[in-house]
Amino acid sequence: MNFDFSDDQKQLRDQARKFLAEKCPPKAVRVVLDGKETYDRALWKGFAEMGFLGVAIPEEYGGAGAGHLELCVIAEEVGRALAPVPFSSTVYLAAEALMLAGSDAQKQTWLPKIASGETIGTLALFEGTGNPSPKAIKLAAANGVLNGTKKPVADGAIADLIIVAARTASTGRDSDISLFLVDAKAGGVEAKALTNLDPTRGQAELTFTNCKAEPLGTAGEGWSIISQVLDRAAVLTAFEQVGGSDRALEMGRDYALDRIAFGRPIGSFQAVKHMLADMYVSATLARSNAYYGAWALSTNAPELPEAAASARISATQAYQHCGKNNIQVHGGMGFTWEFDCHMYYRRANALALGLGSLSYWEDQLIDRMRKRNAA
C-alpha cells in the first residue's frame, strides 16, 4: 500500500506553492475582491505557462497528460492561495465534461485551447434556488437552439465555452436531460454578472435566446454525464478546500502565537488552543478523505461516487470550520476588511455551495452507501 502522493507529485506541489506565493499573494487576490478586475489575467496566463491548466488533459489534446493526482496537488495550492482565476469551472467542470463525453472533434477544438489558457469554460447547470436535480432543469433545447436562463453560473460572465444542461424531453426521467456545448462568442447568450459571497470567483446569470448549440455526448445521457462530472469536480474541489483549510488554520495558529493579551500569547490559553486543535482534526480528516477520493478518481474506481461524496462533505465541513474559527481566533481584527480572514471565510462558504450544498451531498453519500450495502 502507498496511500500518499509520489515524490514527483510532491515536487509539483512545491513548485505550484512557490509559484503561487510569488504570483498570487493576498494583495493580488484583493484586486479581484475589490472589483477592479473580473479575474487575474496575468495569473491565468502563468497557469497556462506552468502547465497547470492541461495537467490532466491527454497530450494528444494539447495537455501534459500527467493525470488527476497531479491535478489534485495543484488544486490544493490553488485553494490555499485563493487564486482568483476561473480554474475550477474551466478545469474541473468544462474540461472534465469534454473528456468524459466530447467527440474527438470537440476535444480537438476545445481541450488544447483550455490547456493554453485561451478558453475559459464553465458548466451551466443551476436555474435558481435548489440543488442538482434533473427536475430543476427547465431550459429547453429544440432544433439545435437553446432557450432559457441559468443562474448561478460560476465564471459565467467570462466564459468562452459553456456546457449547458438542457431539457430535451418531459417524461419525468433522468433521460429528459441532454448536454450542449455553446460557444459564447457566437451570440445568442447574454451574461449578467451577479453579486456573490466570494467576489474573487465570479457568478453570473446566463440568458439563452435561440442560442445555437451542439450536442455534447449522447442525447438523453446528460444527467448521467453531469453526475460523473460533479463527482470528479467534488474530489478536485475537496483539494481546494483542504488547501484553504490548512491555510486558515495556519493563519489562526500564527496569530495566536503573535498576539499578546493578559500578558501572554493568546495561543497559551486552552480555549484558543483547543479551538485550533479541533480545526486541525477537521482538516486532517478532510485531507485523508480527499486522498481516498484522489485515488478513486485517478483509477476511475467503482468506489468513486461514494469516495467523492465523502471527500466533498468532509472538506466542506473542514473549510467552513477552519474559516469561521480563524476569524474567531483573530477576534475583532478578524472582522476587518483589511485582514485576510474574511477572504477564506467567503471562499469556504462559496465552495460549500457551488457543486450542490452539503445537504445534497449528504443525501448522495447515504444513497450510495445503501446501494453498496445492498449489493
Binding site: D4, R253, Y280
Partner: protein
C-alpha cells in the same frame, strides 16, 4: 497512490490468511464480530483464558508481537507486515485485548530500558501471553497530571520499598507483572523526582481492588502498595529519569497504529437502515441522513488517516502526529451515536439489555460506556493540548508547579 500489495506483501498476506483459516477459534467468530465496543465479554468463555490460548498458538507459529525481534518473541516483521497481519487476524484480534497494554506499552519500555537478561527473560513470555503485564501510572492525585503522582519509592540497600496507591489499572487483577512509576525524590520539581520500575504483581504488599464503574462493570482496579520490595535490578532507566522513560511508554501507545478504534458507525448505519419509525425507515429521514453522513466521513477519515500513517511507516518514515486525532474523534462519536440511536427508539430507548428489543441494549451499553472512551488513555482535553502544543507548536500551559519542589506544591483547593 495505490492500495495494492507488493508481491512480497501479497505472499505474506497469503501465508497469514492460510494460518488464520487453519487455526482460529471459529466457534467465536460471530460473537466477536458483533461486539463493537469496550471490553469483550464472551457468553461461554473467559476472554483471558481464550485469549491466552490464541496468543500462545500465535506465538508458537511466529504470529505474536511480530514487529519485535525474534530473540524477544517476535518475528522481526516490517511495520506493513504487522498491519497486514492485523487485517488478516480480523475479529480474532479482539481476543488480544488482555495483552494490548503489555504489547503496546510495557514491552517497548522494557525493550528500550531493560537489561539484555531482562529482555530475554520477560519479553518472549509477554509476547506469547503466558505472562500478562499492566501499567501502573495513574493515581488519585495524578490523572491527566501524571507527573503529580505520589507513590513513594525509597532506597533500602539494593532494594526499593514502595508505598502508595495507583488507580485505573486495567487488568491488574489478572496481570503477572506491572510497569510502575514512582516518586523517588519529593524535594525536586515534579518531573525530576520520578523513577520507573517493573514488579511481580504477586509481591507481598500488593493489593488489587476492583473499581465498580459508572456503567456497572468492573474492568479497572485500584492497586495499593504497602512496603512492597523491588530489587534495584528491576529499575528501568536512571533514578530520577522516570518521566523520560514514561514518555517512551506513552509514545509507543500513540504509535501503535492500526489499533482497532471503535466508532460505532457500522452498527449505527445498519440500525438506521432497518429501523421503522412512524414516518418510515429512519434512514429515509433528512435529519438522520445528515447525522449519518457526518459520522460516515469521520469514520472514513480516521480509516484513511491510519492508512496514511501506515504508508509513512512502510517507507521507513516516522508516522506523523495525525494519528493522535483517533481517540478524540471516536470517543465523542460513540457517545453521540448512542444518544441519537436511543432518540430514534423513543420511550423504549430507556430500556437496557434483553428488554430493549431492537439491538438488545447495544446502544444503551454504548451510552453508559462511552464516557470512559473520552477519559482513558488521555482525556479529550489532554489530547487537544497535545495536538495544540506538539503538532501546531502553540505554547505549553503556564505551569505554576513546574519549578517548585514537589513537596511544596499545593494539594488542595478551597480547604
Amino acid at each position: 497512490m495505490n492500495f495494492d500489495d507488493t508481491p512480497q506483501e501479497a505472499a505474506f498476506r497469503e501465508t497469514a490468511r492460510a494460518w488464520v483459516a487453519a487455526n482460529a477459534p471459529k466457534e467465536l467468530e460471530d460473537e466477536l464480530a458483533s461486539s463493537s465496543l469496550g471490553r469483550i465479554r464472551l457468553k461461554h468463555a473467559d476472554i483471558v483464558e481464550v485469549g491466552k490460548a490464541w496468543q500462545k498458538k500465535k506465538a508458537d507459529a511466529g504470529w505474536a508481537c511480530l514487529h519485535w525481534p525474534k530473540e524477544y518473541g517476535g518475528r522481526g516483521a516490517t511495520p506493513i507486515e504487522r498491519v497486514i497481519w492485523q487485517q488478516e487476524e480480523g475479529v480474532y484480534g479482539k481476543l488480544t485485548q488482555p495483552f494490548q497494554i503489555g504489547e503496546g506499552m510495557c514491552g517497548p519500555t522494557v525493550m528500550a530500558y531493560g537489561s539484555e537478561e531482562h529482555k530475554r527473560r520477560y519479553l518472549p513470555k509477554l509476547a506469547s501471553g503466558e505472562e500478562i503485564w499492566c501499567q501502573l501510572f495513574s493515581e488519585p492525585a495524578g490523572g491527566s497530571d501524571v507527573a503529580g503522582l505520589r507513590t513513594r519509592a525509597e532506597k533500602r540497600g539494593d532494594n526499593w520499598v514502595i508505598n502508595g496507591q495507583k488507580i485505573w489499572t486495567s487488568g491488574a487483577h489478572y496481570s503477572d507483572y506491572g510497569l510502575l512509576i514512582t516518586r523517588t525524590d519529593p524535594n525536586v520539581p515534579k518531573h525530576k523526582g520520578l523513577t520507573m520500575f517493573f514488579l511481580d504483581m504477586k509481591s507481598p504488599g500488593v493489593e488489587v481492588r476492583p473499581i465498580k464503574q459508572a456503567n456497572g462493570m468492573q474492568e479497572f482496579n485500584e492497586v495499593y502498595f504497602t512496603d512492597v520490595v523491588i530489587p534495584d535490578s528491576q529499575r528501568l532507566g536512571a533514578v530520577g529519569d522516570g518521566w523520560n522513560v514514561s514518555l517512551t511508554t506513552l509514545m509507543n501507545e500513540r504509535m501503535s497504529i492500526g489499533a482497532r478504534l471503535a466508532t460505532g458507525f457500522p452498527v449505527m448505519f445498519e440500525f438506521c437502515a432497518n429501523l421503522m419509525t412512524e414516518s418510515g425507515l429512519a434512514i429515509e429521514d433528512r435529519a438522520t441522513r445528515s447525522k449519518l453522513a457526518s459520522w460516515a466521513v469521520k469514520a472514513s477519515g480516521l480509516k484513511y488517516t491510519s492508512y496514511r500513517a501506515i504508508s509513512a511507516l512502510s517507507k521507513g518514515e516516522r508516522p506523523g502526529p495525525e494519528n493522535s486525532i483517533g481517540k478524540l474523534v471516536a470517543g465523542v462519536m460513540l457517545q453521540d451515536i448512542a444518544t441519537y440511536a436511543m432518540d430514534l427508539e423513543g420511550a423504549a430507548g430507556v430500556l437496557t439489555g434483553a428488554d430493549e428489543e431492537v439491538t438488545q441494549g447495544q446502544f444503551q451499553q454504548m451510552l453508559l460506556t462511552s464516557p470512559s472512551m473520552r477519559i482513558a488513555g488521555g482525556t479529550d482535553e489532554i489530547l487537544r493540548n497535545i495536538i495544540a502544543e506538539r503538532v501546531l507548536g502553540l505554547p505549553g500551559d503556564i505551569r505554576v508547579d513546574k519549578d517548585v519542589p514537589f513537596n511544596k506544591v499545593p494539594t488542595k483547593g478551597r480547604s
